[in-house]
Every structure is written in structure tokens, then in C-alpha cells.
């Protein structure tokens, strides 16, 4: 493989993702783990850019870093005021985690092996194309309309549930 600047930046992102991922699972302080996860998610967004999925990269940052990670940190900070938050791992959990991780790895390897060709949604083979428009067309033109609507109903239900739980008084 030709060694270009692109390769260098790619390996930079890969290293960033893997290293911070290792920090997430090994560090004892839960808040450090959460902030390290931020770097991991950023790294993954960078890898998406290399896969020519620009829209997905920005979505990754906006949803995971700006939304989910903030919620995780909120949860951590609201439940414990202490600066030193330690994670205790039981041996049983470790075993269970290993089983799940290996199963996931197998699944991913199977998917990678069985995909004949990786292709950008909008790729016409000659030039890099923006993906936003084709993603929108695919979702709203019927091919993925049903999953899209199901997800939106799911989110609505979650929203109503959250509003119900956070109400001060619940009517009998």
C-alpha cells in the first residue's frame, strides 16, 4: 500500500480510537472513562470520514458526544458527589463481558467476510460524492421509510414516558 499523508492520518485516527478505547475499559475512575469515551467517539467519527460517510461522521459527534455522553456524565454526577468514583468489577461480570465481546467480534468478522464490496451510498466509482442527499432519498422514498417511522414512534414513546416519570404527582 502506498504510504501517503492520508494513510498517516488514518492510522493516527485508528490509534486514537483504539488507545482511548483501551483507556475506557481499563481506567478505574468512571468520569475519566467517560471523557476517554469522548475521544473514542471522535476517533470513530474520523474513521467515518475516511469511509466517505461525512454525514454519518457529523451525526456520530452530534448524537453520541453532544447527547448520549452528556447524559452519561449527568447520571454519574447526579448520583455521586464524590470526586473519586471507582469501578468495581466482579469476576462473573468479567467472564460475561468476555463472552459478549467475543460473540460481537465473531458477528462483526462474519459481516465483514460476507460483504462482497464496501460501497459509498452515492459512489459512482469516479468521484467522491456527498452522501446526505442520497441518505435522505433512501429514507423518504420508501426503501427505509418503515424503519424510519418505527424509530420515530419509539422516540415519541420514550419522550412521553420521560415526561410521565418526571411529573411531580401521578394521578391515581
Amino acid at each position: 500500500m502506498e504510504f501517503t499523508l492520508k494513510t498517516l492520518i488514518f492510522y493516527g485516527f485508528a490509534l486514537l480510537t483504539v488507545a482511548s478505547g483501551i483507556v475506557v475499559v481499563t481506567v478505574r475512575n468512571i468520569v475519566h472513562a467517560a471523557f476517554s469515551l469522548m475521544v473514542t467517539l471522535f476517533g470513530v467519527a474520523g474513521l467515518y470520514v475516511f469511509l466517505q460517510a461525512d454525514f454519518l461522521a457529523a451525526t456520530q459527534v452530534i448524537v453520541y458526544v453532544g447527547g448520549i455522553l452528556v447524559l452519561i456524565l449527568f447520571g454519574v454526577m447526579m448520583t455521586s458527589g464524590r470526586l473519586e468514583m471507582r469501578i468495581h468489577i466482579e469476576r462473573g461480570q468479567l467472564l460475561l463481558g468476555a463472552v459478549v465481546a467475543i460473540a460481537l467480534l465473531m458477528l462483526l468478522l462474519a459481516v465483514i467476510a460476507n460483504t462482497p464490496q464496501w460501497k459509498n451510498v452515492a459512489d459512482d466509482g469516479t468521484q467522491l460524492q456527498p452522501t446526505t442527499e442520497s441518505i435522505g432519498t433512501l429514507i423518504l422514498n420508501g426503501q427505509f421509510l418503515l424503519p424510519f417511522e418505527v424509530v420515530s414512534v419509539l422516540l415519541l414513546v420514550a419522550l412521553i414516558g420521560a415526561a410521565l416519570i418526571s411529573r411531580k404527582e401521578v394521578r391515581e
Binding site: 501517503t4 499523508l5 492520508k6 468520569v31 475519566h32 471523557f35 469522548m38 470520514v49 475516511f50 466517505q52 461525512d54 454525514f55 457529523a58 451525526t59 459527534v61 452530534i62 458526544v65 453532544g66 447527547g67 455522553l69 452528556v70 456524565l73 449527568f74 454526577m77 470526586l83 469516479t126 468521484q127 467522491l128 460524492q129 456527498p130 452522501t131 446526505t132
Partner: protein
């Protein structure tokens, strides 16, 4: 597989190649001796050019807060019938510079009980994200760092990371004021991102592109082509966008995260010296950035008020509309300062009510309305603009009458209650 680097990291809308590569090939190589030119590593040169530009950018942009801080103090002074800083330099023009130098020499205090690593890291996260936003803002014709095809979406993504820096700063300080401030700030930013995003969506629906360049190009026909006047819905969307951005950058009347009377200085209570200055610079840079984005999305970007005439923009070939853009942006920045010195601070519940019960439903209504408008007027014609401006004017008059009447009733009711 297409080479990503030769086209920039993101797919671009315009057919142009990489500007750094063009610069190296057309400007640097012809000036070199022939032997050196033949072996010149183009890619390495590109990196140097890019780094040079980034360095220039990083040196110029912090000058912006330098101007804005002084402007804010002068504006505040006018509002309170004072003169503001007058001692350092003519009319106090060098005051901010002096303050900056003072901050450089201050003690760099790190709370011994806090989390040192995150405490040191937090200002850089906020600073880096604030400045990364500038990469996608078109300051003028061809004056932009990169024409991402997902421009505005990239800006939203990067600015949503600022929350992480705020939480980092608040938590690692190990101070109750900092933690309270950062939680408030995070709740506020996460909430107001929704109406912000939804009002951006109305613009994206009309332009049919996320690229900032395309959004500006869509408004090239003078003031009546600006997206704010294009439909009645974008008119409302502009106000929702602008007010939500004020909440995003934590300014009065939404400055609960820094409410001095309640939580000292919020998330940056424990910071001192240059680290505090970084927060300060980032805050003013953010203020300029959100104004610039509002101008780009709704007020025509660097395009002029009159079509094809060299009043603002258009004819300034060298500056590419930069003067007009800066003037419009500074106008919005002044509006923010005006609001700061006019309005009192909101309460937390009022803040959340405003966002969830008013802005978000109105923003959804705007999206629906823009969609229907797009179906009725698929092409932007003088007729549709005329109808839109008529509706906006009627709406404004109605609002004025309504507000006037309700104020009148209040002032009549007051004597009897007192």
C-alpha cells in the same frame, strides 16, 4: 478508490480541487529553481501551506475577542451613561491588551483537591471547539477555510462538543459553584440545541443543501432574496435561532451558568490567569461565531443588500464581500450586547419553559409551514416574496398592537393594585 486528500477530507459541492495543492502547484513550484521543482514533495508542501494558514487563522481569530471585549465595555458604558475604559491608549483602545498581558502574568492556580488532568484539559477542549467552528464559516467570496458539503451540520456537531468541555471544567474543579454552573450550562445548551437545529432545518429545506457556500449562493439577489424574508416561517425561525444562540453562548438573559449573584462565576470559578483568559476568548469567539452563522443562514451572508450592485459585497472583488459580512455580524453582536444590558436574567424554570413549551413547538410548526410553502411555491418568485413580506408585515403590526394593548392594560391596572 478516489483519493480523499486531493479533494479535501469532505466531498465538496464545487468542482474545484484542493486549494492548498493549487497553491503549491501554481505559486510555489514555478518560483523554485528547476531541479528543486522537479523533486518538490507536493504533499509535504500542502501540509506546510495548510499548517501555515491554520497558524495565521489561530493568530488572527483571538484578536476578535480583543476587539469585542472592548466593544462590550464601551457599549455597556454608553448604556449606563459612563465613558468606559479611557486610560490605556487613546480612548482606552488598548485596555483589553493590557488586561490580556495582566492575565498572562497571573498565578496559574490549580485546585489541589480537584482532578488535575481534566482541569488542565478543559479550557483547551472549549477553545479548540470554538475555533473549529470558524473553519466552515464563509466570511466572503472564496474566503472560507473549507467548503464542507455538510457545513452547517458540521458546525452544529462541533459546537455540541463545547458542552463536554464545560462539564469537564465544572467537575474537575471540585467546587460546588463550578459543578452547579456546569450542570446548568449543560442542561441549557442541550435543550436549546433542539430549537436551534430545527430552525436551521427550515433554511436547509429551502436551500436543499447543508453547504454554507450553497446557502449564501441561494441568497444572491439582494435583500428580498435573503432567507429571512423568503417565507414568513423563516422569519420566525430567525428569531428562534438567534434567541437560542444567545442561550447557547450563555449570555444574558440566559447567563444562568455564570450567574454571579448565585454561583460566583459558574463553571470557570476556579480558573485563573491564562486558563481563565482562554474561557473568556472562547466565549467572545462563540458570540461572533453564532452571529456569523445567523448572518450566513438568514441575512444573506456576504451577499449585498442590492442585487448586482457594489454596495455591500458584490463589487468588492478583492475583499469578496467581507466588509458587508463583518458589518452585518457586528450588528447582531451589538444586538446581543444591547440585550445583555437591557434584560434581567431568567429563572431556571422560565428558561426551560421558554425552550420546551414555546420554541420547540413553534420550530416544529415552522418546519411544517416551510414544507407547505415549498409545495405551493416550488420556485422562488417575486410573487411569493411579496406575499411573504406582506404576511410578515401584518404579523408584525398585529404583534405590536397586541403587545401595546397588554402593556396598556398593565399600566392601567397598576394604580388600582397599588
Amino acid at each position: 478508490m478516489p483519493d480523499i486528500l486531493s479533494q479535501g477530507f469532505f466531498a465538496q459541492d464545487s468542482a474545484g480541487g484542493n486549494w492548498a495543492e493549487e497553491f503549491v502547484r501554481n505559486v510555489i513550484i514555478p518560483r523554485l529553481p528547476e531541479e528543486a521543482a522537479a523533486h518538490f514533495p507536493v504533499e509535504f508542501g500542502m501540509v506546510l501551506v495548510m499548517l501555515g494558514c491554520a497558524g495565521l487563522f489561530a493568530a488572527v481569530v483571538p484578536l476578535l475577542p480583543l476587539v469585542l471585549v472592548l466593544a462590550e465595555r464601551k457599549v455597556a458604558a454608553r448604556f449606563q451613561n459612563r465613558t468606559g475604559p479611557m486610560r490605556v491608549g487613546p480612548w482606552g483602545l488598548l485596555q483589553t491588551l493590557a488586561d490580556g498581558v495582566k492575565l498572562l502574568f497571573k498565578e496559574d492556580y490549580i485546585p489541589p483537591q480537584g482532578d488535575k488532568l481534566l482541569f488542565l484539559l478543559a479550557p483547551y477542549v472549549i477553545f479548540a471547539c470554538s475555533f473549529a467552528v470558524f473553519a466552515a464559516i464563509p466570511f466572503g467570496q472564496n474566503i472560507l477555510v473549507s467548503n464542507f458539503n455538510i457545513g452547517i451540520f458540521y458546525i452544529m456537531a462541533i459546537s455540541s462538543v463545547i458542552v463536554m468541555g464545560v462539564i469537564m471544567a465544572g467537575w474537575s474543579s471540585n467546587s460546588k459553584w463550578s459543578l452547579l454552573g456546569s450542570l446548568r450550562s449543560a442542561a441549557q445548551i442541550v435543550s436549546y440545541e433542539i430549537p436551534l437545529g430545527l430552525s436551521i432545518l427550515t433554511v436547509v429545506m429551502l436551500v436543499e443543501s447543508l453547504s454554507m457556500e450553497a446557502i449564501v449562493a441561494n441568497q444572491s439577489g439582494g435583500i428580498s432574496d435573503w432567507l429571512i424574508f423568503r417565507t414568513p416561517f423563516t422569519f420566525f425561525a430567525f428569531f428562534i435561532f438567534f434567541i437560542s444562540s444567545i442561550a447557547e453562548v450563555n449570555r444574558t438573559p440566559f447567563d444562568l451558568p455564570e450567574a454571579e449573584s448565585e454561583i460566583v462565576a459558574g463553571f470557570h470559578t476556579e480558573y485563573s490567569g491564562m486558563r481563565f483568559a482562554l474561557f473568556f476568548i472562547a466565549e467572545y469567539a462563540n458570540m461572533f461565531a453564532v452571529s456569523a452563522i445567523a448572518v450566513t443562514l438568514f441575512l444573506g451572508g456576504w451577499e449585498g443588500i442590492l442585487p448586482e450592485l457594489a454596495v455591500f459585497g458584490g463589487g468588492f472583488d478583492i475583499l469578496g464581500g467581507l466588509p458587508g459580512f463583518v458589518m452585518k455580524t457586528m450588528g447582531l453582536v451589538f444586538l446581543m450586547m444591547w440585550l445583555r444590558w437591557t434584560l434581567p436574567r431568567l429563572r431556571v424554570d422560565q428558561l426551560m419553559n421558554l425552550c420546551w413549551k414555546y420554541f420547540i413547538p413553534i420550530a416544529f410548526f415552522n418546519i411544517l409551514g416551510t414544507g407547505i410553502w415549498g409545495l405551493i411555491f416550488p420556485e422562488d418568485t417575486p410573487l411569493s416574496t411579496g406575499i411573504s413580506i406582506a404576511i410578515i408585515s401584518i404579523g408584525l403590526v398585529q404583534a405590536y398592537v397586541f403587545v401595546g394593548r397588554s402593556l396598556g392594560q398593565k399600566s392601567q391596572a397598576q394604580p388600582s393594585s397599588a
